[in-house]
């Protein structure tokens, strides 16, 4: 269940021994929460959103960020109820045909990302279609303390740990930092291995 970010700011400020927010203003802590939530979500692919991509005939390359401004990574592409196959990399297509970039088929079959900003949908088709693209969402910025978290509850402790670690770095409090940060990063790496 989403939770307001305000109480989490209180908890984090207590953990870094700055209950009165003398060293770390609450607005700044909220901003750190924005960034840590984005990193956790991008790495672990927790909050997924979708959008419509209207394709153009004979075309295989589409910009991702210009089309889906709140996307961080494409996780699936669906043509109606049919999932396209996710290729591990675009070079795979070279084994199929040297002319894949201009080849035309009856329906879309596969997709992959090139870098993080280019979506390849294979093969090109003769008419414009509408595809549904599923992507990891760029979570919103916390602007007010009533704003709600977006990642699932079980990741809120990680969110607080990472944010507190950033505040300890800011305070140059390296003594307390090590345990908190290494634990958080282990969780992020572990989460990544499950994606």
């Amino acid at each position: 269940m989403p939770e307001a970010i305000g109480p989490h700011i209180d908890i984090v400020l207590q953990r870094v021994r700055d209950r009165g927010a003398a060293l770390h203003p609450r607005a700044l802590v909220m901003r750190m929460f924005t960034h840590t939530q984005r990193i956790i979500n991008t790495v672990m692919q927790l909050v997924i959103s979708s959008g419509t991509l209207t394709t153009t005939p004979h075309r295989v390359f589409y910009p991702i960020y210009k089309t889906f401004t709140d996307a961080t990574r494409v996780v699936a592409v669906r043509d109606g109820n049919r999932d396209l196959i996710k290729l591990p990399n675009w070079e795979r297509l070279n084994f199929r045909s040297r002319k894949w970039s201009r080849g035309v088929g009856a329906e879309y079959r596969a997709f992959t990302e090139i870098g993080r900003s280019l979506l390849l949908i294979f093969p090109g088709v003769r008419d414009a279609r509408t595809l549904t693209v599923y992507y990891t969402k760029l979570t919103g910025a916390f602007v007010n303390e009533d704003d709600q978290t977006e990642i699932p509850d079980e990741y809120l402790s990680l969110l607080s740990d990472l944010t507190a670690s950033l505040l300890l770095i800011r305070a140059r409090d390296f003594k307390d930092l090590q345990n908190m940060l290494s634990g958080s990063l282990d969780q992020v790496r572990e989460g990544l291995s499950h994606v």
């Binding site: 004979h58 201009r102 870098g115």
Partner: protein, 194 residues
């Protein structure tokens, strides 16, 4: 992701003591490094003159990931490989099979053999240069690019990278342990985000 938001975040960590001009410089440096890693990619069409084999990497491009001539993908060859194939390779005109990036300049690439045909006009009637309007015999280049407007999720790792550079420089605010930690954390974040 904008330069100002990354620099502002960096100043939050630096208690506004970092040099604003240097932060801008560090930011541009960090963005260029990302471009080499290949996060931001684009496809650009390049027109072809008959028998011209030397091309410039499209504006804003950093490194080449793939090159197509007309409807075919080209293989990447090193200069040593192409010279072994044919010592007089620069004179060969025909249907392009490969591209070479480590020839004369970092900003250029060469196509082998040199294309025999001039590309058709770049007139995009339906407004889809990479779709129906793709000009025959043109070259399309997939390349990494320097991009400052995308991927807001990278703001924190970039701010940490900028701080690492700023606080490792010889200055009144130099702080090696802090700079080292910022660099390590930035590297970890970028690695897990890849």
């Amino acid at each position: 992701m904008s330069s100002s938001s990354v620099r502002s975040l960096a100043q939050d960590f630096a208690y506004d003591r970092a040099d604003a001009t240097r932060l801008e410089f560090h930011y541009e440096d960090a963005i260029r490094r990302l471009a080499h890693v290949g996060w931001f990619v684009d496809v650009t069409l390049v027109s072809v003159d008959a028998t011209t084999g030397l091309f410039t990497i499209p504006s804003g491009g950093v490194s080449i990931i793939g090159v197509f001539h007309d409807d075919s993908i080209l293989d990447e060859l090193s200069i040593i490989q192409v010279e072994a194939l044919n010592p007089e390779w620069r004179d060969v005109v025909g249907n392009p099979k490969a591209y070479i990036t480590n020839d004369e300049s970092r900003n250029n690439f060469t196509i082998y053999p040199r294309p025999a045909m001039k590309s058709k006009d770049f007139s995009f009637i339906t407004g889809t240069p990479l779709g129906e309007d793709f000009p025959e015999y043109a070259v399309a280049v997939i390349h990494t690019k320097v991009d400052t407007d995308e991927a807001e999720f990278l703001e924190l790792p970039l701010a940490l990278r900028v701080l690492a550079e700023e606080f490792s420089l010889e200055s009144q605010i130099r702080d090696e342990p802090f700079a080292k930690l910022c660099k390590q954390l930035s590297d970890i974040f970028i690695r897990v985000l890849e």
